[in-house]
């Protein structure tokens, strides 16, 4: 990482992706990727997170050899990336954002074409196509032309297309973009399943997707990688000392709970929206103990407890904190 490395340096053999000072400048005007050093461990499900325009897609395209880096280099499984790096691309299954597929073909024809591009013999290609179409739930649509497919169906076919060559590395760019809830659930489940045997890079700006499926994370901002590490690393970055109790009952009883809780040592409590209590635990005090004490008070006050949670999504907080820090650093960046 250009700034403060947060992940330990991995031995090269354990890395699926490694970039060194990777830089892409478009026409001397726009810096899309800025001096990026990235390491993606083999076997990880790596979330590439960043706001729109952060440079995620450009990074992926540099890895695929679809674009030339202005400076720096990128390697996949120890081999350099480039426009004619055929052996590198045979190791990658790529799913672009909202894949644009040839509308005049049917799914089997399209996957067969991709199988040939991967130099798969017919006896390997045909059974694999059948099983992939079954896996992505498109068996009923094999006689339709791709031009008639919905966004969700195109994404499913794109997923199957990325798996035709059975590559050890999957690079999926915004795989859940434009999908309805059930298609999104299907895609996330598939990532989880595939992550058991493959390295997966998922570029997205949807934090909940990252939270659900990734074990490693890289955060990009304005072309720079401002954080890489495990999910635990990023969640540790923000120290969460508070939790929120969602309650149901008489507001007076809620008020009593707040007063009683505030009288406990090392605990601050306040109401929120009348039916919720935010409890903050001071440094040096056990959160578990504080939670147990407060729950006893809830019971004692005769309130009904709906839920207990640690405020907002931890990853979201950490992500926003990283972006704010990066903005604030100014010249130190």
């Amino acid at each position: 990482m250009p700034d403060e490395p947060t992940a330990a340096q991995e031995p090269a053999a354990d890395l699926a992706i490694r970039t060194e000072h990777l830089t892409k400048i478009y026409g001397q005007r726009l810096i899309a990727v800025n001096d990026m050093n990235l390491q993606v461990p083999r076997g990880s499900v790596f979330g590439l997170l960043g706001p729109n325009g952060a440079g995620k897609t450009t990074t992926l395209r540099l890895l695929l050899g679809l674009q030339h880096p202005t400076a720096g280099r990128a390697e996949i499984f120890g081999r350099p990336c480039g426009p004619n790096a055929v052996a590198v691309r045979s190791q990658i299954g790529y799913l672009p954002t909202n894949p644009k597929l040839p509308e005049d073909l049917r799914p089997i024809e399209y996957l067969d074409l991709l199988g040939k591009l991967s130099r798969l013999p017919r006896e390997v290609r045909q059974p694999r196509i059948a099983s992939l179409l079954r896996a992505v739930g498109l068996l009923d649509a094999t006689d339709q032309k791709i031009g008639t497919f919905s966004t969700g169906m195109c994404t499913r076919l794109g997923i199957a297309a990325s798996l035709v060559g059975d590559p050890p590395l999957l690079i999926w760019d915004e795989p859940t973009a434009g999908l309805d809830p059930s298609a999104r659930r299907f895609t996330l489940d598939l990532i989880r399943e595939l992550g058991k045997t493959k390295t997966i890079v998922v570029a997205t700006h949807i934090l909940s997707d990252i939270d659900q499926v990734c074990d490693h994370l890289g955060v990009m901002h304005e072309g720079r990688m401002i954080f890489t590490g495990s999910m635990q690393d990023i969640q540790r970055r923000i120290c969460r000392d508070d939790f929120t109790l969602e309650l149901e009952g008489d507001p007076e009883k809620v008020g009593r709970l707040v007063r009683d809780a505030a009288s406990l040592e090392g605990i601050e409590a306040r109401t929120r929206d009348g039916q919720a209590v935010v409890v903050r635990v001071a440094n040096g005090h056990s959160r578990a103990r504080a939670l147990a004490d407060v729950l006893q008070l809830v019971d004692a006050c005769g309130l009904s407890l709906h839920s207990v949670h640690s405020g907002q999504n931890a990853t979201e907080n950490a992500y926003l904190q990283l972006l704010q820090e990066d903005e604030a650093h100014g010249f130190h960046r």
Binding site: P83, N84, A87, R89, K100, L114, K116, L117, G165
Partner: protein, 305 residues
């Protein structure tokens, strides 16, 4: 290309090339442009044959059938077909889908180029060969002509080579300019005054109009003349003419004086086109085609998608 690919058996190595070629051929064949072109060229061939059936001798009639491919109007269709696979947003997205697979850029480009060349030559041969066969075999109310099989094959070959060159030129323009409409417009402005440009460099015999006028002579050319020419005497004349043309070509750029040319019967005013050289035309268009394809590959290799 990577060393792992180099060691694969030929069939496996060529699999992506053949897959893209097949896919592009299928797409082109299904396209409205090609279907309309095929129908229009068949109709034009029919009309030209019917109109000139009782008037022209075999060679003249066949040359008139080849004229639309060499000069007007099919030049524009050929250029558009050449430009389209490597330019335009939609083409780039589809190219993206292929180039993110284990395919090298030159494999993709050569397959796309080959598909365009095959479809153009296919339409051209479908549109002309049956008509030429009918014209030469039928008894028509015109004097006997001396059209030879070699003449027909070489004339068809020359026109095919010019069409291949046009596809390659379209390819180069599309690769460079990346906008199909702009590339097509540029090529129209480059190709139509090509006769004037070639005249400035004393290369008139390569212009489509000159080639078209030379077709009747070429169609009557017997094989043994061509055979003799390849064995020395005429070939030496070809080389001398080629050297003279190159000398003049360079002198235009250097603003110098070219060597004085010995007086001889004027090629274009004699009406016989006896010094039309198949060798020079094939060399000229063949090399130009090769250069256009190589330049396209070089520009395409540097392109960002």
């Amino acid at each position: 290309m990577d060393s792992t690919v180099k060691t694969l058996p030929l069939g496996t190595k060529l699999m992506p090339f053949l897959a893209i070629l097949q896919h592009d051929l299928r797409g082109l064949w299904a396209s409205r442009l090609v279907r309309l072109w095929l129908a229009a060229s068949a109709l034009m061939t029919l009309m030209l044959s019917a109109a000139n059936w009782p008037k022209f001798q075999d060679a003249t009639l066949i040359a008139s059938l080849l004229f639309p491919y060499l000069v007007f109007p099919w030049f524009f269709v050929v250029v558009v077909l050449g430009v389209s696979p490597v330019s335009g947003a939609r083409a780039e997205v589809l190219a993206d889908g292929i180039l993110s697979r284990p395919v090298s850029r030159h494999e993709y480009l050569l397959a796309a180029w080959a598909a365009r060349v095959l479809i153009v030559l296919g339409v051209y041969l479908i549109g002309t060969v049956p008509a030429i066969a009918v014209v030469t075999l039928a008894r028509r109310p015109v004097p006997e002509d001396t059209v030879t099989l070699f003449g027909i094959i070489s004339a068809l070959g020359v026109v095919g080579l010019v069409l291949t060159f046009l596809v390659s030129l379209g390819f180069l323009a599309g690769t460079l300019l990346r906008k199909p409409l702009l590339a097509a417009v540029v090529l129209v402005f480059v190709w139509y005054p090509i006769g004037v440009v070639l005249n400035a460099f004393s290369l008139e015999e390569f212009s489509p109009i000159s080639l078209s006028r030379a077709m009747t002579t070429q169609l009557r050319q017997p094989w043994r003349v061509a055979d003799a020419s390849s064995k020395g005497k005429v070939n030496a004349q070809d080389m001398e003419a080629l050297t003279r043309q190159m000398d003049h070509f360079l002198s235009v750029f250097s603003n110098g004086q070219s060597r004085p040319v010995a007086a001889k019967p004027d090629f274009f005013e004699s009406g016989g086109f006896r010094d039309f050289s198949l060798f020079r035309v094939v060399l000229g268009y063949g090399l130009s085609t090769l250069i256009a394809v190589v330049l396209s590959i070089l520009f395409f290799h540097r392109r960002d998608f």
